[in-house]
Amino acid sequence: MAHQSDLIATDIQAYLKAQEEKSMLRFITCGSVDDGKSTLIGRLLWDSKLIFEDQLASLEADSKRVGTQGEEIDYALLLDGLQAEREQGITIDVAYRFFSTDKRKFIVADTPGHEQYTRNMVTGASTADVAVILIDARKGVLTQTKRHSYLVSLVGIRKVVVAINKMDLVDYAESVFDTIRDDYEQFAEQLGFEEITFIPISALKGDNIIDPGPHTHWYHGPMLMSYLETVKVDTGATNRPFRMPVQWVNRPNLDFRGFCGTIASGSIAPGDEVVVPSSGQTSRVKSIVTMDGELEEAIAGQAVTLTLEDEIDVSRGDLLSAAGDRPDFADQFEARLVWMHEEPLLPGRSYLLKTGAQTIPVQVSGLKYKVNVNTLEHQAGKTLQLNEIGICNFSLGNPVAFDPYRENRATGNFILIDRMTNATVGAGMIDFALRRATNIHWQAVEVDKKSRSMMKDQKPCVLWFTGLSGAGKSTIANLVEKKMRSLGKHTYLLDGDNVRHGLNRDLGFTDADRVENIRRVGEAAKLFVDAGIIVLVSFISPFRSERDMAREMVEAGEFYEVYVNTPLEVCEQRDPKGLYKKARAGELKNFTGIDSTYEEPESPEIVVNAAEASAEELAEQIVQQVLKEDSSLNFTDGTER
């Protein structure tokens, strides 16, 4: 049993020596609110003597005050960390618990079982090797059990313990155990687990946790603790091809250039050939440097510093890989995405994707279908809400190196970050690179933007007019175009309403459609800029992230955000199309400024207020500013026009 070794008292040095060889297991416990999950973990801590006397004293006091077990100790109270939760009597986030025995150290991810907390389960499971799924013997396999099992398989856990708990409440009946086992096995066939172990337990009474229970003589399998102590952790990571995301380039002096990172898979030794997938450059490992001396070999999981034989370009974010077994390298892939935020996923919106040590702009270019976590059925959908799971196509700002998640958990995962709030909004598992990404290459063109611009004697750019409906965007944009025209400039005006009659006529006014609307207009504007044209875009474009996305599609200095900052009262008073009246009457939904938000620009290049000057004056002001910069323009090769 845990830390009960006589060696502690008799020969502490020998004990410590033995402890150094311990391995580690990370597991997750999944169960519904009343399955006794917290009681089970409390019991494991208790039985491995990890509850200290002072904790026991406060546990006893708390058990009497808020416990649910009468005069008995309520082990669950050991775990509910935050005060508010303790009062509500529920666990609401992922908590990590630690215990150890003489054989292993354990890290337990303790996650809640409520419907709305898929997010937490996926988080807890992402670092786990094994899942312990609790089933209440009185209730059998529930919808929640199926959901937990699916999520566990989704995240790539291959070994599962099904702990059938509260056996004391069904008189330790073998038939109950058998029925639940058969039900579960049938359901789990589609999940592809490598190993499922069923154990009848009573967390409250301690049956089959450490020692065989006196009432389950019919059970001959392992005790829960002995299973956890001996289950083989996935050592496959070391057998897969070498991968190491470079976190940090170490240059203490001119003679040393080391690449620091944690080996994601495989092993490495001096002399091994490695490749940088983004450039295709290869070299051989010269040395594996650590503060404890150079290593002859390093394996998956180790944090090391590699030096290479040749001076090749390697920087943070590169995935150093075995030259003979390279990862995929693509800018489009299909992945399973778990949505983790209250704000829904908007396909087409630009998010940041972090994988390995690199962060790249990304869009969901298509939501193929959603998976119902209760039934595993596929459903159509346009967005993902909190806790929904979708199979999506992703389009990245530049190509990344990766492996499919099912082959390599460490190099096939990613998180999505909202660019405005910086919140972590999604977690993804890559399935495969899309063929179109690998097969469609950029067609190099000989007549380029620069030559087209020089012919027109102008610097192409985008004037992006944004503001409320009725602010005067289109009126001012029209006047600007006329003035430019009279100065001999080549222009084109993309008007919001007009575009919705053609290019975007399939789109409505939901947030998702608004994002796609702007994305297409941004792409169209980019083509015009490439053609050497000054493009005027007049769109409400209420969201900052989409305006920023449009900005990023063109080169720096080619984008002017023109904020037509006319107060809402003025716009509403004018109401040129009678839309405000309709919106106020409730006949028009999702109207910007009324029941849909407008996010003001943070640092627009130009701000004008149509309530303070005439449209004519404002247009003149805009033309002056844009052409001033146009005439001082230097082309990138330094030749002045």
Partner: protein, 301 residues
Amino acid sequence: MKLEMTHLRQLEAESIHIIREVAAEFENPVMLYSIGKDSSVMLHLARKAFYPAKPPFPLMHVDTTWKFKEMIEFRDRMAREHGFDLLIYTNEEGVRQGISPFTHGSALYTDVMKTEGLKQALDKYKFDAAFGGARRDEEKSRAKERIYSFRSETHRWDPKNQRPELWNLYNARVKPGESIRAFPISNWTELDIWQYIYLEDIPIVPLYYSKVRPVVERDGMLILVDDERIPLDPGEEPMMKSVRFRTLGCYPLTGAVESTATTLPEIIQEMLLVRTSERQGRLIDHDQAGSMEKKKQEGYF
């Protein structure tokens, strides 16, 4: 080929990964150095992470002026030996007001000299990331703490608004003024820390080892008479006892345990045989129910 790493090597690698990631992604990180055993381990890991270079960030000690003398000596020796850039910050306003744990109580004292001092220091140097040596096993509210703990512009921790952390992918995006506290040794337990100190022969403050020291009893705890600022009752003489410390903080708030353990194996042996959790020796956690959680929300680690 050996396919599996021992638990200490896995913990070590995870911590190094976190330290490198923070150094790479933040503009102005700092390592908070509290001089205790957890800080000593964290510092050792930082040295490993960047060897042969030095860690690319300074160390900072928020000095409450009530630390044990031996801690200060140890701090200065470490900085000298390893050539660290060491910043020392004290809440001078608190010093001027004469804030003392003896006269103002531990709650107010901790708030002013530790929490306020830390916030002032972070504001002064505009650090956007601060490493701390907290562990999840220390206290219930820490079990749910993230590796990257997000803090608002006013350094507040909102337990309901923490980012989910998956795999080893940490979200390092903060707006100007916002920051994170990074906890690279989150997954270590007290036993892991001691075993690692033993395995790696990491230097620690001598106060962890037993020695006959002058102590007085206060609120059931043995308090070291570290200097003349400790108020003694009329006629009270300090007792000479063989004591050591399981945890180190400000001397008036840190209880000693009676012990004869003078070597690391003896300390570990004692820890495994004696059953009280380590923060028990610290007065501040017991001020009120859920007190650590409250302090964290206000900006304490």
